[in-house]
Amino acid sequence: MSGYFKDIITGLKSLAVGLQITNKEFLTKPITLLYPHESVKMYPRYRGHIELVKDPETGMNSCICCGMCEKGCPSGSISVKSEKRPGVKGKVLTAYILNFTTCSLCGQCVENCKPGAIRFSNEYNLASTRREDYIFNLLEKLHPEGIPEPEVDPELLKKELEKAEAAKKAAAAKKEAAAKQEAAKKEPAKEGGESKAEEKS
């Protein structure tokens, strides 16, 4: 019987203690961050989606189009499109497409990037009702006013042109030589040989 009353008293006491605590919390100031009115403090290391880095000197990206980010990506959400332009050293990035719908923000791409051409952005207000909005062309994002043409190095262009010329000449010579050889070899079947050479070129 004493246990019965003891239970009641300890029980009521514990309930009163609980009420006290919530009362204390009621009187303290709320700590909520009112999100749309105030914004969250972002840490410099925040891993948002990736973005291309603008080289402060040239104003261009420093991507060398090696495709390591593409290869390292676990979900295959990156595709780097590049082409060779006359007079420009290395490949030129034409599109850097990040499919953010499949990106898992693991950071393998940034880690794999040797020249440090990509980094994490601090953008987190990414809301949209359309799926297509999450397929980013990072190059366009880097240059919203329009993608600038890479500077053409005249010397390099000259060299390249010369090289191309030389290559062309060499190819022509080779072709000629090959044609001759072929012709010499198979006099009767001339057409066939020619077409083969053409194919080769």
Partner: protein
């Protein structure tokens, strides 16, 4: 004719009072919960979120009322109405002030209990009519809960009736005039268990209104949303409003029976403001309790009723009878 006008005006007043209460108690609850939980609660709709109830109401009203395919349609439809009716009706007997009573019955207390049990019925009907197993369990729980808690509640009320010798609510309040030690809570000369009895009554009204430590009918951890799982739109809205209406009634009744109703604690300027003050304090206690405690089990709830509340109220009844007889 005069009587009719009086009644009509009271009905309008009650509707307004009730409407305001139902809307803003929701706001109070949310705001209270917010501040207790280190949050701010509703704040964007209007100043301090004061227009939030309006927005909520609009949202609920604009929603389609979907009747589940295997629901018992008539029962399903009438349950929300049925839960609202007794809640509104009961206001007719509550004395807000000495002359501010919609209708003075000499059996007001009896009527209170008679109609209050309809609330439990409506939960059962809603739970059964939904054709949902969760709702069904909730309905079954609600009935046995109501049965279990009406007993101690009634016995405690009988104690009050024995002390005051009246079932007229206004008369009960009148007898508690003067200083606060004349309130029934502190009537130690009638029975030394009176404060305990108040606690019993308070807990019972908590259980009767299905508030959190005892919300077996809608415990979301187990039964999703209990008896109103299948209700959407205004069906749900009515259940919600009925909960607050029951809250107001439960607190009013506790105030009337134990805390001296419209009487001032110091015997000065009695009036409806005192009644409202006491009632809202009790309501705040309900909110406060709701956001502090976890829920009991169904088992624990019945245990509490049969093992603690009923014995206490019975002992109190006997003691009171003894004191009245002896002194």
């Amino acid at each position: 004719m005069n009587e009719l006008i009086r009644l009509l005006s009271y009905m309008i007043c009650i509707a307004a009072f009730l409407g305001l209460n139902l809307a803003y108690l929701g706001w109070v609850e949310r705001k209270g919960a917010g501040h207790i939980q280190r949050r701010t609660g509703p704040k964007d709709v209007g100043p301090y979120g004061l227009l939030q109830p309006l927005a909520d109401g609009l949202k609920l009203m604009s929603k389609q009322l979907i009747v589940p395919a295997n629901a018992d349609r008539p029962l399903y439809m009438c349950a929300p109405i049925l839960t609202m009716v007794p809640a509104v009706l009961l206001f007719v007997a509550i004395p807000f002030g000495e002359h501010l009573v919609p209708r003075e019955f000499n059996f007001g207390l009896l009527m209170m209990f008679a109609f209050a049990s309809v609330g439990g019925m409506s939960i059962l009907i809603g739970g059964w009519g939904s054709g949902n197993k969760y709702s069904l369990i909730a309905g079954a729980r609600a009935v046995s809960q109501n049965v279990a808690y009406e007993i101690p509640m009634l016995i405690t009320a009988i104690t009050i009736v024995m002390i005051t010798g009246s079932m007229d609510l206004n008369e009960i309040v009148r007898q508690q005039g003067g200083f606060f030690w004349n309130w029934n809570v502190f009537r130690l000369d009638k029975s030394i268990l009176m404060p305990v009895s108040f606690l019993v009554f308070f807990i019972c009204s908590l259980a009767e209104t299905n508030r959190t430590p005892f919300d077996m009918g809608e415990c979301e951890g187990e039964l999703v949303a209990g008896y109103h799982t299948e209700y959407g739109g205004m069906g749900f809205g009515l259940f919600m409003m009925a909960e607050y209406a029951n809250l107001v009634i439960g607190c009013s009744l506790t105030t009337v029976l134990f805390l001296g109703g419209w009487q001032c604690p110091f015997g000065l300027f009695p009036g409806p403001h005192w009644f409202l003050l006491k009632m809202y304090f009790l309501i705040w206690c309900f909110v406060w309790i709701r956001w502090t405690y976890p829920r009991t089990t169904f088992w624990g709830l019945l245990n509490l009723s049969w093992k603690y509340l009923i014995p206490f109220s019975l002992v109190n009844l006997l003691l009171t009878a003894l004191f009245i007889k002896v002194f």
